[in-house]
Amino acid sequence: MKLVFQSDLSLFLPEFFVCIGLLLILLYGSFSLHLGTTFYTNLNFTVARLSILILIQSFFLILNNQTIPFYTIVWDSNFVLDSAAKWSKLIISSGLISCVCCSFSFLFISRIRLFEIFVFFLNICLSFFLLISSYSLTTLYLSIELISMTFYILACLKRDSGLSSEAGLKYFILGSLASVFFLFGSLYIYISIGSIGYQPAILLVSTGLIPSIYIYLGFLLISCALLFKIGAAPYHNWVVDVYDGAPTLMSFLFSVVPKFGFFVALSRIVFTLGPSMFSCLWESLFLCCGLFGLLIGCLGGLGELKLKRVFAYSSIGHVGFICLSYSTGILNSLYSSFIYLFVYTITSIFIWTYILQLDPATRKKLSLSNSLGLLQSNQIFSFTIIFTLLSLAGIPPFAGFFAKLNVFSCLMESSFYFIGLLTVLLSIVSSFYYLRFVKIIFFEKSFFWVHFVQIDKNKAGLLSLSFLCINLYIFTADLMFLLSSKTSLGFLA
């Protein structure tokens, strides 16, 4: 007897695996807690290792998924599986694997004994898989809500810290407002098209026959909601405070994983649903977001002293760059924005692992001066940090430069000359605070003893892998090109 959705089940194997793994861990955790004789049961390590196993296995399941010619629509046209979804899911799962890798020592030192964190991580994994594959506004909304709920909880995890509660509250209130706008926008789309799914919308909208004028408003609201979740300016207010207040592991998570996932969802809306709307809607929207993002990213980061806030502002700036490349609307823009996203994800993994490594060392606020004297104590590490910072600033020969080169090439190709000039000037200003960091590591003498702090195995492996990806980019540029092409061209099928 064949089930109705039998083929869909096999195609959705990774998601089911993650879901079952999640439930298993939840059960295991809840029952083990009460099974032990003492109340001192540190489940973290076992649960963490289990969750890493689940994530790695899901990585391979995604890789192993049946080859799809262009795309396959599953579950009654609610989800899609194409090459874009496949490769994006791989990146998401590797980002989460890196996050769990770093969590071992962080949770031990900050004495957080909640095994539920790993349940949340797996939940995030599952919900991002669903978000990336979603092919209808309902599934998109539900995945967004699932992700956001988990994120709100994770942001206010440290219950004894006022900063953390403030972060969680801000994220919750502003995030729910964004979701409300999403619903409002989907309402307008339903009014104008008469369906919630993407397929009818593609047929009606992408050919250029606009059924009604409300569709612009609908797309605008939906994309604004997604841009909020990414943390693009002018919806960036929550980013700095949440990155600062949340426990550092959660800031790591916020910086690495959601940007990629929500950009994929945004690409589906912009390129699959509405490629005909570029001249009227997307161009102005993303230009505005991009330029504001660069402006706020560079000006905000100049005045900050706390380390996490500096990198929060820099992430706003980078998201602004990606938005700029979206605004051009040519084929190259998808490719360049995905290369930028890959490079940015890997760079954030490096930077936030470094911040995590600093974090427990001092119990005080993390500021820029924590890296003083790194050159004397750990030379190789300081060089890798400097190279990564220069990559963020966009200096050759590191990966960040080539990512920016692609964005500039897109801008010039679509004749955005003045915008290009502004972008150049703003990126020079923002390179100042990266250079300030370099100066602190290289040139300033520390007035206290420095000692060699050994980085634990997980973090060291992560740091070296991500460093090699960024700094040897110049020798393997075609690999990244192929990866981003495979990801980006899936949207145009």
Partner: protein
């Protein structure tokens, strides 16, 4: 035939060999070399690369305008961007200059006591490799990449190994002025790449861009090179950077990085956009002339001798740019000759000044007087280069300056009149500096130059002389290439 093919490989070897400098960084940890051995190894590497470049010169065929010793490597074939290196008449001599100056700098820092010796040597090796790659890259995007990478080791040299606390500010100024110009150039490069479809020099050379397009792209390229050369008003970084950098840092800055700017103008601004050059010649002439007169006058009133020589560097390079934009054959040749000779002369001047600074630990001129009593060899060397600075016949800078003034006269006699004040004012500041320092009563008694310091300066004396007298052997390769 065998000789020719080996010489083709020599070019590739020259670069691979320099990249082996990188691997030394790893090996040094493994082999646990002592300081002396590290210095010896690096010096040997730099000398060997100089000998290789001499082989390149010997094997160079000056009868064709094509690129020679071309080596290609795939980088991103889907986007038609590949890693191509090739030698040209213009780049050959700059590469020779590069490989000449680095062994001298390595020899100069022999008695360096400080924890940062490794950083010094690593920065040198990285800088040499990148400069050779920059001068020999045929592909525009890779030229830009190497042009920018140069910033990093120079920033380290200025900011870490300088002597005063102002060095960080100097490093920042250097970095941001150059970054500002270069990022503007990036926009121009992206535009060219999109329009032409490839970024190889010969492809763009064959492609005709409209005059309107040429003007805009010329502006973006010019910003970048004018902050390197430097032209007023983007010259502010140069006195600061030169003063705060260590001696070898100033030598490399003045001797090589400024030449990157003039090389870029000669090859890219003039080579690729000739119509725009003709259009912008009056404005460039204004800037250059202002630069020559202003910096020469400022140099006269300096109290810090390193800053004085820094301002004279700006004056000479502005004269070079004036000559480049005359857009006649004589002008372009003489500007390249003058670039080279300035590379020799100003490097030697910075080395001599470094000798003084090593002894007196102060850069104020007033502290030094009557050096000729106790340091006759030093004073004679210093005299030779002071006279070379102001363009004494017999030295290469005479050839350069005289021909430059001739070529400027061909375009506009008024400009020539005012820019020849470079020679007059040059005499003023150079001779006055020499006079104050060498003659008069002895204030402080120093030991004369050591063998090491003399050895550092000797090749430059030799080159200046030889270039000055036998220049016709060196002009010929340029003739076919700059057109």
């Amino acid at each position: 035939m065998v000789l020719w093919s080996t010489l083709v490989l020599v070019k590739g070897l020259c670069n691979i060999f320099l990249f082996s400098n990188f691997s030394l960084i790893l090996f040094q940890k493994l082999l646990k070399l002592k300081k002396l051995e590290i210095k010896q190894v690096f010096l040997a590497l730099f000398c060997i690369s100089f000998i290789f470049s001499l082989f390149l010169w010997i094997g160079f065929d000056s009868s064709t305008p094509k690129f020679q010793f071309v080596s290609e490597g795939w980088w991103l074939p889907y986007k038609n961007v590949n890693f191509v290196l090739g030698l040209d008449g213009i780049s050959l001599f700059f590469i020779l200059l590069t490989t000449l100056l680095f062994p001298l700098c390595c020899l100069w820092i022999w008695p360096f006591i400080g924890v940062n010796l490794k950083f010094y040597l690593y920065s040198f090796s990285v800088l040499e490799s990148i400069l050779i790659l920059a001068f020999s890259s045929v592909d525009l995007i890779f030229f830009y990449v190497f042009f920018e990478i140069v910033l990093i080791p120079t920033f380290i040299i200025i900011g870490m190994l300088g002597s005063r606390d102002r060095k960080v500010r100097a490093g920042y100024l250097f970095f941001f002025y150059t970054l500002f110009g270069s990022l503007l150039m990036l926009l121009g490069i992206c535009y060219i790449y999109n329009v032409v479809g490839s970024s190889i020099y010969e492809a763009i050379h064959g492609f005709t861009l409209s005059t309107y397009e040429q003007k805009w792209i010329w502006v973006s390229f010019f910003f970048s090179f004018s902050s390197k050369v430097p032209l007023i008003p983007l010259h502010i970084w140069l006195p600061e950077a030169h003063v705060e950098a260590p001696t070898t840092g100033s030598v490399l800055l003045a001797g090589l990085l400024l030449k990157l700017g003039s090389y870029g103008i000669a090859r890219y601004c003039i080579g690729l956009f000739p119509d725009a050059c003709l259009f912008f010649t009056p404005s460039v002439f204004t800037l250059g002339l202002l630069g020559v007169i202003y910096t020469s006058l400022t140099a006269i009133r300096q109290i810090d001798f390193k800053r004085l020589i820094a301002y004279t560097s700006i004056a000479h390079m502005n004269l070079v740019v004036l000559g480049l934009f005359t857009c006649n054959t004589l002008g372009i040749h003489s500007s390249l000759v003058q670039s080279l000779s300035h590379g020799f002369v100003s490097s030697a001047l910075f080395l001599s000044i470094g000798t003084m600074y090593d002894r007196g630990q102060s850069r104020i001129i007033r502290n030094y007087s009557g050096l000729s009593h106790t340091m006759p060899i030093f004073v004679s060397v210093f005299l030779f280069f002071t006279l070379a600075n102001l363009g004494l016949p017999g030295t290469s800078s005479f050839v350069g300056e005289f021909l430059l003034l001739t070529s400027i006269f061909l375009v506009s006699p008024y400009t020539c009149f005012f820019s020849s004040s470079c020679l007059i004012l040059g005499g003023g500041y150079s001779l006055w500096l020499f006079n104050r320092v060498s003659y008069g009563n002895s204030k402080l008694i120093f030991f004369d130059v050591s063998k090491r310091e003399l050895l550092c300066v000797l090749p430059l004396i030799f080159s200046t002389f030889v270039f000055g007298i036998q220049t016709k052997n060196f002009i010929r390769p340029y003739i076919l290439h700059s057109l």
